[in-house]
């Protein structure tokens, strides 16, 4: 089908470098590969592009039936969203930010020392501990919904963001332990030995070696925990109400709306997704590691 002969794409240099980790050469694709890839990419991004475009249209253009690609653009939906007649979106956005940021910090505070004990100076049966952490992510969270709800109710923490922070910390801690362990395992052991000979304690080692050297890994871990917390709906919907409701809970108020409001919905969806899009693009290279719970690098 293509004109490229497979043999010509493999004319490797005659003298191969002897280093085992030489830069990988990707198989060169034909023009058809490129076109197909662009077409697939466009198909996948289309709903998001359409959502962004619709959010900049008037309700009349958005609900016109035939796609109004070149309709005039307006920011009215965004200004309506933030200061229109509807519910104020700021409290839920601030709640989401609070829950996501504080739970992510708590996750890192717990996960970094744990990862240290599981990689640098591994304790006995450290793989068992790793797989215990992983197994907590394997079974449906919904099975714990009722007891968690009842506990929140009995302790007066219903509709309280603190409780949600604890839930999200538990939800993300196993992922963070797995990710941080693989980042810490990349630090040369000699550094830790030298620090110990110099009499550095655990806190000093964590502060002076672990944190600076694993900073990029910590950042990626933090971004991924942030995304998962920001996205969570089931527990937020169950445990919060008018006070501590998060941005996804706020969005569910649009589920049953009627009439001309598609542009408004699109603007709301874009605003709520923006932090995740930014965090996700920033963590793109480590995304697969977080999504596979650390199993794939």
């Amino acid at each position: 089908m293509t004109t490229t002969d497979p043999a010509t794409t493999n004319d490797a240099p005659v003298t191969r470098p002897t280093a085992t980790r030489r830069p990988r050469r990707r198989p060169r694709g034909s023009a058809i590969t490129g076109l197909a890839a662009w077409a697939v990419g466009f198909t996948f991004v289309l709903p998001v592009l359409w959502m962004a475009l619709t959010s900049l249209h008037t309700e009349a253009d958005a609900g016109a039936g035939r796609p109004q690609v070149f309709a005039s653009l307006t920011f009215a939906n965004y200004s309506d969203f933030f200061s229109g007649g509807g519910a104020d979106p700021w409290p839920p956005i601030i709640n989401s930010a609070t829950a996501a940021i504080l739970s992510t910090l708590l996750v890192l505070v717990l996960a970094v020392p744990a990862a240290y004990a599981l990689s640098v100076k591994p304790i006995e049966k450290w793989t068992d501990v790793m797989f215990f952490f992983l197994s907590t992510k394997m079974l449906p969270m919904v099975a714990g919904l009722l007891p968690v709800y009842l506990i929140a109710q009995k302790t007066g923490l219903l509709d309280n963001i603190t409780f949600l922070i604890l839930i999200y910390t538990a939800m993300n801690l196993p992922i963070a332990v797995w990710m941080m362990r693989s980042f810490l395992a990349e630090i040369p052991p000699a550094l830790f030995e030298a620090a110990e000979i110099d009499g550095a304690g655990l806190v000093t080692i964590l502060r002076k070696i672990v944190v600076p050297l694993s900073a990029p890994g910590m950042a990626a871990t933090a971004l991924i925990c942030f995304i998962f917390s920001w996205n969570e709906l089931l527990f937020a919907k169950s445990l919060t109400g008018t006070v501590a409701g998060t941005a996804p809970v706020f969005l569910t108020s649009f589920v049953t709306s009627q009439g001309l409001f598609l542009a408004q919905v699109s603007a709301a969806a874009i605003v709520v997704s923006l932090p995740v899009l930014i965090a996700g693009f920033a963590a793109q290279d480590k995304l697969v590691q977080g999504l596979s719970l650390g199993a794939v690098k």
């Binding site: 996948f44 919904v142 693009f281 697969v288 199993a295 794939v296 690098k297």
Partner: protein, 330 residues
């Protein structure tokens, strides 16, 4: 929130030192204050471990206990031992049986289609072409939209019979041929489950793609080169080298995808609100807790979901373990 009791890693503890490349600290065998030193090593782990045990194991124990109780929010004083009556009620209810079937059907469809699409896209992305990085980012984007937001937009902006993109495009294409009465199916009421599946496939294909692409890129370059030297064509290379190598990545992507999709609540809640046969088990548990407020029944449902998931979870743990071994042994 809960854990599997059976772990596939029992063999490591017996093997010498496990897959780690650094010596393991043995419990009490140190000199002098060995026990104390061992606890000092464990100390950094303990906060995370205790927190996880309390937050994930205790709720499940509570669910297990409540599943054997009569416990209705409306009648808070009439708690009592219920035996297996909650479980019996789960199995006797046609709604619950259908939500179990829906869960299986939804999960299998979404995971298989996303896997096949993901594999194809990963093979494309593994080649070099103009703008490869941009296309990769475009493919990832669906995964970076808040799931509720995506589901909400699919409901109103894609599937809606009058303002949705699908019918809009149909009407535009039909209009090109001068047809003024294009078909305008009401996707959400005519194909409710398909609508949910389409949104989920769109959302989960990037996940599969990323894992499978990582797998493709971890193929040994020397083996590929050797195959090329030996005259293996693209198809032969794919069937004899790529597929066997990809097996564990396909398994991992499929199993992790299943774990996530089984739990899906956002799409079912947002797109169809569980109506027209789209209610899956998580949605049903949610409505049993908050609408029916039958806590005993909801707990029995939760226990059944967990038991059903243990199979997938065990397989998934085993796959992660097999990927983890070579990494640790390096």
């Amino acid at each position: 929130m809960t854990t599997v009791t059976e772990q596939p890693n029992a063999r490591t503890s017996s093997s010498s030192g496990g897959p780690g490349d650094r010596p393991t600290v043995s419990g009490g065998s140190g000199r002098g204050s060995g026990g104390g030193a061992a606890w000092l090593r464990r100390a950094p782990l303990l906060p995370a471990l205790l927190f996880t045990i309390v937050m994930t194991q205790l709720p499940f124990l509570a669910t297990l206990v409540i599943s054997f109780m009569h416990y209705q929010a409306y009648a808070p004083d009439s708690h009592g031992f219920a035996g297996f009556s909650n479980f019996k009620a789960v199995f006797q209810s046609a709604d619950l049986r259908s939500s179990a079937l829906t869960t299986v059907y939804l999960t299998v469809t979404v995971v298989l289609v996303s896997l096949v699409l993901g594999m194809g896209i990963a093979l494309l992305l593994n080649r070099s072409f103009f703008g490869r990085g941009i296309v990769r980012t475009m493919i990832i984007t669906p995964f970076l939209v808040v799931p509720v937001a995506a589901a909400l937009f699919f409901k109103h902006g894609i599937f809606n019979p009058s303002s949705g993109l699908i019918n809009g495009v149909i009407s535009w294409v039909w209009g090109l041929f001068g047809d003024t009465t294009p078909p305008a199916p009401d996707w959400l009421s005519q194909f409710p489950l398909l609508s949910v599946e389409l949104q989920l496939i769109w959302q989960w294909t990037p996940f599969m793609t990323l894992i499978l692409l990582a797998g493709l890129q971890s193929r040994s370059h020397d083996v590929l080169e050797a195959a090329a030297v030996d005259g293996a064509g693209p198809w032969r290379t794919f069937a004899s080298i790529t597929l066997p190598h990809m097996r564990q990545y396909l398994e991992l992507a499929g199993l992790l995808g299943s774990i996530y999709v089984v739990q899906n609540f956002d799409s079912v809640f947002t797109i169809t609100s569980g109506s027209l046969g789209t209610a899956n088990l998580p949605y049903t548990v949610y409505t049993t807790v908050f609408n029916a407020q039958d806590y005993g029944l909801a707990s029995a449902q939760g226990v059944i979901v967990v038991i059903a998931s243990i199979g997938i979870a065990t397989l998934a743990l085993r796959t992660v373990f097999s990927l983890f071994q070579p990494e640790g042994a390096r």
